[in-house]
Symmetry: C2
Subunit: 210 residues, 2 copies
């Protein structure tokens, strides 16, 4: 997936903020594990759910070398020749050490960020965590010091001779959309979803292709 490197902090943060799921990589006895997790950024710190990393983290009190990657798929890139097929995407790779968040206040902040990340405004609608719940939550933090992005956009790049071929080439844009909210069968009578829920749409950064 060839792409240009992007190093501006704003662009990196926008991609992290738009992605709903991250993949975190950890190593155990030389074997890498890549686990999907929910993440949220607060300033220069990236939080993710520690349960994803429990097997490794439990063995390493001080933190573990980790890699957190997010990828936004923007389109299918259809070239005239098979070898030049690709996808348009934006991805961020964050390298560093994942450390367990110890303080209750920081855990609450991370939980707030996770919740707001899923549905902006949701934190104000739901029951806040108790001290006991916060103690039970496992949150890991990585600093964004070592983060880089890769972006591929635009039409396919074909070999010069192939442009004359009578083969359609271009991009099929992809995006994520939300369907009608499905109420929990055990919903209390008369409770309606808020505008934050019914109006949900994927957060698109300025960098996103239209």
């Amino acid at each position: 997936m060839p792409a240009r490197g992007v190093y501006e902090r704003g662009a990196i943060e926008a991609i992290l903020d738009e992605a709903l799921v991250a993949h975190v990589g950890l190593v155990e006895d030389g074997q890498p594990y890549v686990i999907p997790t929910l993440h949220a950024r607060v300033g220069e710190v990236l939080y993710f759910h520690g349960s994803a990393a429990s097997r490794t983290i439990r063995a390493l009190a001080g933190g573990a070398p980790a890699c957190l990657t997010v990828t936004l798929l923007d389109g299918l890139v259809l070239a005239r020749s098979a070898v030049h097929h690709s996808v348009n995407y934006r991805s961020v790779v964050v390298l560093g050490v994942a450390s367990p968040v110890q303080g209750q206040a920081e855990r609450a902040e991370a939980l707030r960020a996770f919740t707001e990340r899923l549905v902006p405004g949701r934190w104000g609608e739901v029951r806040a965590p108790t001290d006991r719940e916060l103690k039970g939550v496992s949150v890991l933090a990585m600093h964004l010091r070592e983060a880089s992005a890769k972006v591929r956009s635009g039409p396919p790049l074909d070999d010069a001779d192939d442009y004359a071929l009578p083969v359609w080439a271009g991009v099929v844009p992809l995006r994520t959309i939300a369907g009608e909210p499905v109420a929990d069968p055990r919903l209390a009578p008369g409770v309606e979803p808020s505008g934050a829920v019914t109006g949900w749409s994927a957060q698109r950064s300025e960098q996103a292709p239209s």
Copy 2:
């Protein structure tokens, strides 16, 4: 992201086949790297683009311990309390050794699978790879021997006391859709996209929530 484990081969293959992007994990000097890549399954073998892994693979002629993970995001799970927010998803983790594909015929097969994976039927529309192109393509293979899936579906799971709260709870379903195909500005005159391109839709397996 708590979920139930799924071990039936058919379910695992369906998730791999539906995912458009994979995240592959490799280790170098104890540091994990997680890189997005295109993948395709042919029987019990999973292929992915070797360029994603070039830095590690080049150092290891015989292959490297790897982990290839795909995740399909099916919905936002909105609970009555902050801590029980989650997502519905289907993911597969494949552990094993990633080995470079050496034979030209197998590389061609992998390239065909990559192309067909993006747009079913596309292989028949485009210029086939030359022997020279196939030599330059870097493809890695992993066997599906050690693969497992995790699936979360259905409504949120709240604490018993919280069900009476006047907070809307349920699922916001998510899916990937395609927009109008965008023609390459250098397209030869009079070439129209095929039905395979204009009719593209995300491949939904039977396991996918409706």
